[in-house]
Amino acid sequence: MTGLQKSEVLKVSNLRVSFNTYAGEVKALDGVGLTVRKGEVLGLVGESGCGKSVTALAIAGLLPPNAAIIDGSVMLDGREVLGMTEKDLQRLRLEEVAMVFQDPMTFLNPVISVGSQITEIMSARPELFRERLVEFRIAQIEKGEESTETKGERTRLGAARSGGRLSSKDFNRLAKLYTISVLGSVRLPEPEKVFRMFPHELSGGMRQRAMIAMALVRRPKLILADEITTALDVTVQAQVLQLLRDLKAQIDASVVLISHDLAVIAELCDRVAVMYAGNVVELADVGELFRNPLHPYTVGLLASVPRADAPLSSEATIKGSVPDLINPPTGCRFHPRCPKAFDKCPHIKPPMVEAAPGHFVSCLLYGGVP
């Protein structure tokens, strides 16, 4: 993890975020560091309140007003996100970072049809989408797909491609056709009809697909998927996961998949970052992490997954409770609950060390003791 390699889309380093609340300063993130490579799915896993969502919000510049970024940097595609002006951030969110949220019902405007909510993204900034839409439509016509060509459309498209104007009527038609094709690509049945439907007319799984379509339309470099399957039924979860796995092959976006569900992480991710109380404690390839967990917290987390073939044992829980982030434990934040804690743990904040190639861990057991 040295320097910004070309293939890295996102590099978060030493990110420290606090929230000012009535009870005191909540030190939510305490030096988070992670990287996301191009085209990869990074899982972000941890208990509630460990800072997964705060990390995502910080990456998109969406932290609430009472949050303070104390230190660190978020480099997205070579540009620093922290300290960007609101205008730049808006453009960043429109073009490069797309967020998909947990509960698809409440994240759609109930009184506007699904299609309009998606085309709106494009019509808000036509200059950003014009070229892409024209290319899309030309390809569609050449393939002889679906909706019929209107009179003189090819000429107008050709003119628009070579720098001419595109009337807003044509633009809206292209945006609609493109939206329908994206709705189809997230496997919504009869996308033309879904386009006209309102959110309450869709089932939970369909809404989540619409939300994913909303992210895909923008062709972002990075998708932040925050607990996207949590609000869905188990069977629908499986469908959405299947969809994501298929999309992973098609789109060249990188994904940060936030979840507390280890099964979802194991299913979809290339690499996993385990978070605890505002720190990334372990970061490794998904196979390596599940086979060979190093950090005592990761070991506990993996052991605490209930299994169908074994009785629940009280051994399989992590003792104690999530620390109070207003007065977090000194040194390693996990030491009060750690079965392997020793005398140095309360005094030294463990650095991130590479215990095996590509397997990073932040624990004094694996080095970092001066």
Binding site: A60, L62, L89, Q90, R91, L92, R93, L94, E95, A98, M99, F101, D103, T106, F107, L108, N109, P110, V111, I112, E120, I121, A124, L188, P189, E190, E192, K193, V194, R196, M197, E201, L202, S203, M206, M214, R218
Partner: protein, 308 residues
């Protein structure tokens, strides 16, 4: 419907919703009465100039020809002459046909009511939305300005404004708008405050949508329904206010056919010719009642808590 891939089920669902709303409406007699009166008033407004020549209102006064000639009701007043020609509601204080004058008066009142309510909605949506969405100093400033207007009794403020600006129909309208808008700003602000907490607003932020787009395209569409219902209810109230102002004499011309003015001209003869004040008064009552019943009914029918 939730399996919703089939578009025809959706269309069917929407039509069923509408049918259900109409069904609720049919079951509610008061709404039907309100609807009939409101639609009747609107029709009368549209047709009044075809039914009655508006020039009749501006004729020179025909030398106080109070007369009553009604084949159905006999008031038993002997010192009032019967008219040479038959007027169903008698004549007004200037000798004009009272029924014709009422027909000419309804559009005048209704036009003011619609202008006032439409302006109040516009001001309310723009400034109330801004106050609720921006918060902070902007919110504080807009609210304090509404406080100033709300602190002065509405009728009193309107009277002062009309006296200062001169008596004419437009100033009457402006004066009432100035007393009316603060309620809409506050209503809209409260709606926007609760609406902007909703997750879809957060999503729009996360998609890079700008403030004006979020507020005026997304939030307003969700927040405007209570305002529209308030507006329906207020049409009756504005008509009452206009009539009250003209009744106490703030009228551009005594000849103006306007319901409050007609009643006002009749008050001097209340004992000899009570119909002069009764018929315009009853008309005011009916129109306000009609719009109020309609507004109440719409609120009930579209209130999701009362459905299902």
């Amino acid at each position: 419907m939730s399996q919703g891939g089939d578009g025809s089920t959706v269309a069917h669902g929407r039509r069923a919703d509408l049918r259900y709303a109409l069904h609720l409406m049919r079951g509610n007699k008061l709404v039907l009465i309100g609807l009939v009166i409101s639609v009747g008033t609107l029709l009368l407004t549209a047709l009044s100039h075809l039914l009655v020549n508006p020039a009749l209102a501006n004729q020179e006064p025909l030398a106080l020809r109070l007369c009553w000639n009604n084949p159905v009701i006999n008031w038993g007043i002997t010192n009032v002459k019967t008219c040479p020609t038959s007027y169903p509601l008698g004549t007004d204080a200037f000798g004009r046909d009272l029924l014709q004058m009422i027909i000419l008066a309804v559009p005048v009142d209704l036009q003011i009511a619609f202008e006032v309510v439409a302006s109040a909605i516009l001001i309310g949506v723009v400034f109330g939305g801004l106050a609720g969405y921006a918060g902070g100093l902007v919110d504080e400033a807009i609210l304090r300005i509404t406080d100033i207007f709300l602190a002065i009794p509405a009728i009193l403020l309107a009277i002062v404004l009309i006296v200062v600006l001169g008596r004419s129909l437009p100033t009457l309208t402006y004066a009432i708008i100035i007393t009316w808008w603060p309620y809409y700003v506050r209503l809209m602000r409260s709606q926007v405050l609760s609406e902007k907490q909703k997750p879809y607003v957060e999503r729009l932020h996360a998609m890079g949508a700008g403030g004006p787009r979020i507020l005026y395209i997304h939030i307003v569409r969700n927040a405007v329904y209570p305002i529209l219902i308030q507006a329906t209810l207020d049409i009756g109230s504005v008509i009452l206010t206009v009539s009250a102002l003209t009744f106490i004499g703030l009228t551009p011309s005594p000849l103006l056919p306007e319901l409050g003015n007609l009643a006002s001209q009749g008050i001097a003869n209340i004992f000899t010719a009570p119909w002069l004040i009764i018929f315009p008064g009853v008309t005011i009552l009916l129109i306000s009642l009609g719009f109020n019943l309609l507004g109440d009914g719409i609120r009930d029918i579209f209130d999701p808590r009362l459905r299902r």
